[in-house]
Amino acid sequence: MKKINGMLVASLIPFLFLILLFLFIPLFFMIYGSFQADGGTGFSFKQYQEIFQNEYYRQAFKNSILISLLSSFIATLLAIFATYSITHFSSRIQNRVLIFANLTSNFAGIPLAFAFIVLLGNSGLFTLLFKHFGWETLSSFNVYSWSGLVLIYLYFQLPLAVMLLYPVYQGINKHWKEAASLLGASSTQFWLRIGIPIILPSIAGTFSILFANAMGAYASAYALTGSTYNLVTIRIGALTTGDIFAKPELGSAIAGLLGLTLVVAMLLNEWLTRKVRRDLS
């Protein structure tokens, strides 16, 4: 019989205990709560029905999905070009740009929302500047609107997109390009027929991570206007901790649906990453 490994057991027990306590138990309570009627009185699908029937919560999902798709799309598109451009510079500059992206990726939530208020708020720096030059359309831009929120989402998505896409271009072998051009392919042909098909799964994977990242974001929107934006995460926060409108069971159900959306996005990313043809490199 094999001897029990004391080191393995002694180190795993406290670790698994904490994971159980702070990951699985809350997960269980959330799912259990979502199948309860208001006030926790017995099993019911009522909360999920409410989400699908109530225009307000359907709108919250619609808004969250729209802003996540839009910000992920713009960030991925910009990052595709910018990251490709980065690979044309010396490795010293490449490193610097990546460090800067890494640094700004930490700049999110409340501080980020505030920085945008400083720039574009009612007496923001750019607002004053535009007023000074009499550019009406620009100076009336409202940072507390949806377009303001899109700008903020774009800010925290962009560095992440750059960091996720940078390694992808490293995977494009220089020799393939040479081989293709020796066989008479133009640069456009190379990218259309070889380059893009190779990096496409990675781009789609990046997109799904960004989408999940935006769907779960809470602090920036909360910092701008408290609970007035109708986003999924804002609704969950208000339903769970709000003093007057607290409906924790409904909050749990919305959180459950959001979690499900994120799991699908993560699985999509795993599946796409596996599609990247490793046999070529």
Partner: protein
């Protein structure tokens, strides 16, 4: 290197960098300006807001609370997560799949979702919500600690090192403490700093679980937003300087390791 790069490449990188830089610069100037309501340039420059911030005892206390939460969770994960990851990588590699599944699960459960579950599970349990928050932080930094620890263990070939140490008569625990730990320390340190800087900026869990009673820097900043924009921007700048220092340490440690390998 191709010296005559098309203008296009400068344009794309420039656009991205500018977009990332401008909000930071704006906040920086705003934090040093006396008044800036009507004119296109600030009316004067001053250190006043920083002085006021650092003489506010509420801010210093909030700083202390933020440090307690984020340092506490990071130390907890050093004591519990690192040995567990070591054991799994060396003695039970099959369990790595399980850890990776846990990581996907933590990604699928951002702050808002886990907060709902934590409130339902523990708000009436007698466990202080501060402890619950540290526990949630512990789970939240699992991806970073796992990545750093596992990569370091692979780099030093921990399995062969442990075999060698045990053949020479060291017990598993001694070998881990005296041989493995000093060798993986730089990598683990990098992961810890990264985890710390992420936790220090965390707002969602703190706000939903303990916001009213346990004011951290992020909560303090949120409350200051509508009171004084200048002080709020001074906080943002201090916060950004702190992450920059941590990031530059991370970069230095990572680079010096690459050179020695």
């Amino acid at each position: 290197m191709n010296k005559n790069r098309p203008f296009f490449h400068y344009l794309t990188i420039g656009a991205v960098l500018l977009y990332l830089l401008v909000p930071l610069l704006g906040t920086l100037i705003y934090s040093f300006s006396t008044q800036w309501h009507k004119t296109i340039l600030p009316e004067g420059l001053t250190f006043h807001w920083y002085g006021e911030l650092f003489s506010d005892s509420l801010f210093l206390k909030a700083m202390g609370r933020s440090l307690i939460l984020s340092v506490g969770a990071t130390i907890l994960s050093l004591l519990i997560m690192v040995p567990a990851i070591f054991s799994i990588v060396v003695y039970a590699p099959r369990l790595e799949k399980f850890i990776q599944a846990l990581i996907v699960l933590t990604y699928a459960m951002p702050g808002v979702i886990i907060a709902v579950g934590l409130i339902r599970a523990y708000s009436n349990s007698g466990m202080p919500m501060v402890v619950v928050t540290v526990g949630a932080y512990f789970v939240g930094i699992l991806p970073y600690m796992y990545q750093g620890t596992r990569n370091s263990l692979r780099n030093i070939q921990a399995v062969s090192l442990m075999e060698a140490a045990e053949i020479l008569g060291a017990s598993r625990f001694t070998a881990f403490l005296k041989v493995i730990l000093p060798n993986i320390m730089p990598g683990v340190l990098v992961s810890s700093l990264l985890s710390f800087s992420i936790l220090f900026g965390e707002f969602v869990l703190v706000n939903l679980l303990i916001g009213g009673s346990f004011e951290t820097v992020q909560v303090y900043l949120y409350k200051k937003l509508n009171v004084s924009g200048h002080i709020a921007s001074a906080i943002v700048i201090c916060y950004f300087i702190l992450i920059s220092i941590l990031s530059s340490i991370i970069v230095k440690v990572t680079r010096s390791r690459k050179e020695t390998l």
